[in-house]
Amino acid sequence: MSAEDPIERLVALDRALAPSSDTVERVRRRLERRAFQTPLRARLRVWPMLAFAAGAVVMALAMRPAVAPVAPAILDARAPTVPTPVPETKPVCARLETGTHPLQPAACHEADGVVVTAILPSMLDRQGSTLELMRGESMFEVKPRPHDPLRVRAGEVEIVVLGTKFIVQHDLYGGHVFLIEGRITVRMGSGDVQELGPGQQLSWSGPSEPPSPKSKVRKAPKASPPRDERELASILEEIHQLRRAKQFGRAVERLRAVEHGSWSPRAQQVLSYEIGTLLDRQLHDVAAACEHWAKHQRRFPGGRFSGPVADAMQRLACESGSRGGNFPQPRD
């Protein structure tokens, strides 16, 4: 490598590079001062986090719905502070005390994780974790209670519940239980035990005969259910199987295919309610569920599921315009 080689000359230049001792000492002193400032710098590093936390708190307070007016209290201390009405997201239920209680339609009672909403005028008796529906029709929503099963009696029928949602109807001539969610065990008066899945229902006949001559006519269908009931039970069983296979979309399609057949009003309500429950609870399609619940309310104003449907629409925050009453007349 010759002395004229540019790389050799670069190396020579690089070796000749050296800072003066003044410069080295000057930088050293500056760094020393800087090092003693580090504790303050370390504290400053926390400031962005504190600022972020403060901003988050301010945002949370700003987005929280106003509970009490502040401005009037500041402007005029003599003015009484009237709390701003807060829109309720869930109806407040009355406490269900021990003893017998008459329940009015749409009124709900709550105790120990059990919410009872009357669909028809009902009479309910509570003794600890045992409820007895003496007459009427009510919906029971039971929060999970794996160690303390709730027992709901309707005549000679006893329903054992670990956490679910179902409707019980009972009167002198019999009754039925319709399971909306979860799983329940029904012990019949004869000692038979049946387990119900979502969408299934079980009927029973009462101890008394109806006083009118129609009782015989009424009893006959119990012994031999009409074609309508048999087909409904068959379809509900089919839907139950689809639910178990988690084929919720197919279940909705199946129900919609049969929904507009020649069904009794009660069966139409059950099928419509099934569709809405699938859209709401299983498919979580809020828009479709809202649309369906609104349609359900139009088709069956004051129907047997009007309470649960109203609750579902409130829970899903369906637009107020889609609620029953404000809708145009049903097209179907």
Binding site: E8, R9, V11, A16, L17, P19
Partner: protein, 191 residues
């Protein structure tokens, strides 16, 4: 010439760093690190600053100030020399790019910096006495990227892959810069 003895290899880890247990020890630890590594860091900064000592002083101070912030969080404290080499090189690169922008005629006009280059720096006079001024000027005339790549390859023994990782470039781009830089250096020094 022993090209295997690179600047980064001279930057060994300082054992006192492991003894730093509180903020009060920071000044003592930093002083130890500075005394051990300042020559290597200064050499890099002076090289890329073409011997400008004031330019190099700013770089060295910036690098060690950054070290204060990162001393307790270094991923590999044993590789302090490597860390200082990478940070110094990147700082020099950024400062060279900034200087290049500030040296644009329009920017110089706006900033009223015209005419500053008329007086030669004291370092230039010293290099002239050492017969190195021509090399220094040739190095100074190289664009920043080419200057760094040529020096890192031929003075520090870095591979093109390593240079690409440090400067955030692809290996093929580093290869292209190296070729251009060497060609230009030859032209400057052979003329």
């Amino acid at each position: 010439m022993n090209r295997t003895e690179t600047s980064s290899q001279a930057l060994d880890a300082h054992p006192a760093m492991n003894a730093m247990t509180s903020e009060e020890d920071l000044a003592r630890v930093l002083d130890g690190i500075y005394r051990k590594h300042h020559r290597a860091v200064f050499r890099l900064a002076l090289r890329y600053g073409a011997g400008n000592e004031a330019w190099a002083e700013d770089i060295v101070q910036d690098v060690f100030v950054k070290l204060i912030d990162h001393l307790a969080h270094l991923e590999d404290p044993d590789d302090l020399g490597g860390w200082l080499y990478r940070v110094t090189t990147r700082r020099c690169f950024r400062k060279l790019e900034r200087d290049r922008f500030l040296d644009l005629p329009l920017v110089r006009t706006c900033l009223r910096f015209l005419g500053d280059a008329a007086t030669p720096a004291p370092e230039a006079q010293w290099f002239a006495r050492q017969d190195l001024e021509r090399t220094r000027q040739a190095l100074e005339r190289l664009p920043p990227k080419q200057r760094l790549v040529v020096c890192m390859v031929h003075l520090d023994g870095r591979t093109q892959q390593e240079i690409g990782e440090i400067l955030g470039m692809s290996k093929s781009y580093v290869c292209k810069l190296l070729g251009r830089g060497l060609h230009r250096l030859h032209e400057e020094l052979d003329a």
